[in-house]
Symmetry: C4
Subunit: 370 residues, 4 copies
């Protein structure tokens, strides 16, 4: 391999930090770039610091250009170059790398050309948590959402024509043409209400009032649709994330598939980094935990016990003694399944055999600790 050395180091860095997310360096570069862009447009601040601002912007640009080139090179080496070029990510990378230089090349003055660096912001899109969930909601509810949007546009046009007819004589500048009246209508229908353009005739105001109330209606429909879709999506997402973990906990292995599906809907999965205290002695507790992966350490008086994959803890809080009796801390990155008091009771009611197991274990532990 005959890569130049900087290129090689950077390439290795990229390979090491690849995956779905966004690297920390990229977040830093985007943040720096945006901050510099803000300073750039404030004349007194820029005059005082223009060396710094310019340098940092160029460094960020160099970083993004490098990133793009290496990804291109790696893509083509892997035979998937065009695939990368045409993908959403490839397009964003390209825009981040070439938009500013291209603008400068076409003779745009530098301060304006740098405005294109706002496109760098798009690079953090893959790192937004829950974005996939949002996208699914919007895709699944596309039909009613479009329906509401069309209604929105219809109200916009009908109201604009009515108000244009009513107000153009009195306010020839503000309502002098339909496009100008559309501006008023969109400001009103979204209930933004700048107040730069306001109807003054009684009939015009009547139409405006109806437009505002329609605005509330459109908004309500919109929200109603999204709320409904979100409820379904949240349930689905949680089920998928939890299922895998549940089926790996031996405690639930004795249950049939139907019961596992049932249990999965009651559990919530959390991921905790090393050295996180999950339970604090003397605090009030209202849930128990199953260890899906990782390990925790229980600080009993005089000694420490480690619990590994498949174990559970915190069950005493659900069996009558609501004060936690020991500190419990993760020793490594761990995934835990949380069972709330409400769901615990539901679960015990439906699967009494689980109740027996948990009860026996709790008693064994109490006996052991005394």
């Amino acid at each position: 391999m005959s890569e130049p050395s900087v290129f090689a180091v950077f390439s290795q860095f990229l390979a090491a930090t690849a995956g779905r997310g966004v690297t920390r360096v990229a977040y830093l570069a985007v943040a720096t770039g945006l901050a510099m862009l803000l300073v750039l447009t404030v004349d007194p601040a820029y005059e005082a610091t223009h060396h710094w601002v310019d340098s940092l912007l160029w460094v960020c640009l160099a970083f993004f250009a490098m990133e793009w080139l290496i990804r291109l090179w790696r893509g083509f080496r892997a035979g998937r170059g065009w695939h990368y070029v045409a993908s959403a990510r490839g397009l964003v990378d390209a825009a981040a790398a070439v938009a500013v230089p291209l603008a400068m090349g076409f003779g745009v003055d530098p301060k304006s050309a740098w405005l294109f660096s706002v496109l760098w912001l798009l690079k953090i899109v893959p790192g937004i948590p829950g974005l996939r969930q949002l996208r699914r909601v919007i895709v699944l509810e596309a039909r009613p959402l479009v329906s509401v949007l069309v209604l929105f546009v219809m109200v916009l046009f009908l109201a604009s024509v009515a108000v244009y007819a009513l107000e153009r004589d009195g306010q020839p500048v503000a309502f002098g043409s339909l496009p100008a009246t559309l501006w008023w209508a969109v400001v009103t229908l979204t209930t933004t209400g700048y107040g730069d353009v306001v109807p003054v005739t009684p009939l015009g105001r009547l139409v405006a009032g109806l437009v505002m109330i329609s605005g509330l209606g459109v908004f309500g429909l919109w929200t109603g649709i999204l709320a409904t879709a979100f409820a379904a999506e949240t349930r689905r997402d949680n089920f998928l994330r939890t299922w895998e973990a549940v089926s790996r906990v031996p405690f639930f292995a004795s249950l049939g598939a139907a019961a596992i599906a049932d249990v999965t809907q009651m559990l919530r999965m959390i991921e905790l980094p090393t050295r996180t205290t999950i339970i604090r002695k003397g605090h009030h507790g209202d849930c128990m935990y199953f260890i899906a992966s990782g390990e925790v350490e229980v600080e009993l008086p005089g000694r420490k016990i480690r619990l590994g994959e498949g174990a559970f803890f915190g069950e005493m809080a659900l069996l009558g003694n609501s004060l936690r009796s020991a500190d419990i801390t993760t020793t490594q990155l761990s995934r835990l399944l949380v069972l709330d008091l409400a769901d615990f009771r539901m679960l015990m009611a439906r699967h009494p055999d689980l109740a027996v197991t948990i009860d026996a274990e709790a008693k064994r532990r109490i006996a052991e600790n005394n």
Copy 2:
């Protein structure tokens, strides 16, 4: 049949494109008409292009007039003429055809008369997706929605009288009469807030603050009602659309009626045009598909397999191997039933016999491909 030839051609065109939807030509005519209407009201733009604008508007009007006349003629020939005339669609068609000429006939100047062409927009209403669903929501929840509206009006009036009494001395123009104060109240209660009329006395501002908070409350109630209704309606709509398809898939035929109702709630139906790639090799998959109608083509290495009505595919992604192993494309307009990973697991838990069938088929396919 003794129709004139243009009429005949047009009539055949209408018959061929009839149904519930809106023809593409109608969409084009509405879009063109609205665009021309916008240009018409912008003086410099209209002066430069008035020949084009006028011609296009007349063409659109002629189209809508023709459409109306033919529908009338066909309606009366079929003995349902008056029914059509009095229907919502007939009224819209009539308004689109005669409003502008009528206005001109009554001596309105042409530029103002053309404003009635905004009514053409109503012609696309039947083509809005999901409109039926929206209407059902509004009809079913009419009682609480009206209740909120009445509360809205009551707050409006009570606040107006209070602010009128408080502000009329200080601001005799803005708050000089109750109708003028109502304008302020509606602008405030919808949280639009133009700012053209603003109370200045301390008590007036207190009332205004309460009105704004009531505005949020009204809005919240409104949205809450719509969200609730939407949730129920979406479930119902999906059930109806999916049921037919499910009962036609042989794979589910062995299930009893109760189980089919159960399965229907888990499936989502999609309709795909010809030559749409459903699954792309190497992509991550989280759902499987049943073919309700149509046909798909699987691109295996070296050969192509076609799967028809009642077949399923994509099941491997749900049985452990999440990377898709082949491209799959529709060969004709197809309706597919999508089963998500979450629902797949639920289904398998409740109907283990289905799991066996899918598993066996998956193994057969793997064996065949090797």
Copy 3:
């Protein structure tokens, strides 16, 4: 009985129209009163019509005073007078009757005194449909709603003090005191945004931005709470209204109590006046009906059949033939239970014996009609 004659007639009228609702005459009086009040405050309009306006206002006032007096008299005669006086309704009646004369008595000029007639609006409160439902929602969710309101007030005060400290030097009039700044804060937090008072310092604008975003958050919480409560309340309300009717339909009598509870959740009750056409021949149908009370008439070719309490119709639309085969009209005020296609299928799956009964009846009817 020695009542004066007008009083007697009025009293009989009240007795005949009593109940929970509001009489039509009261609605008319309220509407007339409000319209006159609006005219009263518009000087040119009032000058032109002051005889009419004054007379009508006095007539309305006389009506409300009479209503109050008769209710008082009837109340005390029935021994529940003080109960009526202290009830919400009694207070509203008293306010409607005496507020205006009292104000005049205290020397308020007549035009201002009439402003109190806006209180007449409160008389229609008992007639608002679904108000009881709204009230239950608000009462049941009082705790989280108050919680959000307290958060609202806290943001209001904290933001006001911050912006007051930041802006008072630059804008000593608009932000010269905390109460003045609170006005700005409430206008901003409700996202009304009049624009009469706007921060101009960079820090002040930063705080303002945070306040606006908090506004969206408060609003979102508010709506979320109300939406949740509404969903529960709507289900409960529908269950109660439908249960009575269901248990009276013989068709469901064979079901056990558990199944009736199940069925009740699927049905929706509607009330139709005399001579309403429920089903129109040739239309597309997606629901069937059970007669809870009243009677309908089926217009078969050549003869008319009447179906009474407990009968069902429209079932063919759910058994495969989606076009309605006859017009069906109510002959008297009727309460019908509507069963949607989606729920019909669910019901048939869970209670196959009902399916057999409906199927048999449908076949019998088809045989009879041929």
Copy 4:
């Protein structure tokens, strides 16, 4: 114990009123402090009353300082001093006690220093009902909420750069820098719309229109997320609060755990102070009550009966006779479980043995009363 006497009294007061809530005296001190702060900033009002205002502010400050010192002292005596100091409550107590004196110490003029007394408001946070519920909702839905916030910021920046580029030439003051344009963007995206800064170019207005519509979308997503989470949280909260009480009512003791879980979801717990009338003779009733703790008194004609823990009443309203036949009042602080008519029917359908018990008791009571 060698505490000074005031200190001792105060300490006992604190101990007596401790717990999770906020004492009434603290509420009073916060309210007084805030009211005085408002007066302080209004020059004419302050000049007239400055002795009172200053004195009351110092009294409040003294109260909060005392409270903090005693809590510190008690904390360290109990060996948990540093724990208190670092807790949220300890920090708020410290801020309330020292912020104002500290500001004065650093030479801030007194009127400005007193502004820090707005921090006293934070002391009532633990007393907000349902705040824990709100916090859980926000924590559980943190991922999608952050996701929406990031989208919000992205739209903000992209729109700002676009509008800055389009408007800076025409409006060099309002849109002269990116930070200034961000102000416009946040005012617009939250649909606040002050109107102090408004785009005037056609393209700028187009971007502004898109920003407003995005604002509605962001808002809708936000609300949808919160509504979904609230629904789940409300169910969970109610279940937990009711479970304990249900399992202590003998009437339900015969049920298995699964049935108790079922019943718990139907009941709603309310807490009533002494001498509250629960049922009023002659009123319409639609629910029955179980006494979880406390006692009620039934006013039968001629005598009074007392019902204690585990008893139920009001069942006749659900068994056909909807008018309440006696006044029923609490004799002490009581916790009641409310069973709605709708849920009563559901319950009776699923657990017919309960129906028999309630029916028998109702008959026994009727017999006894006659």
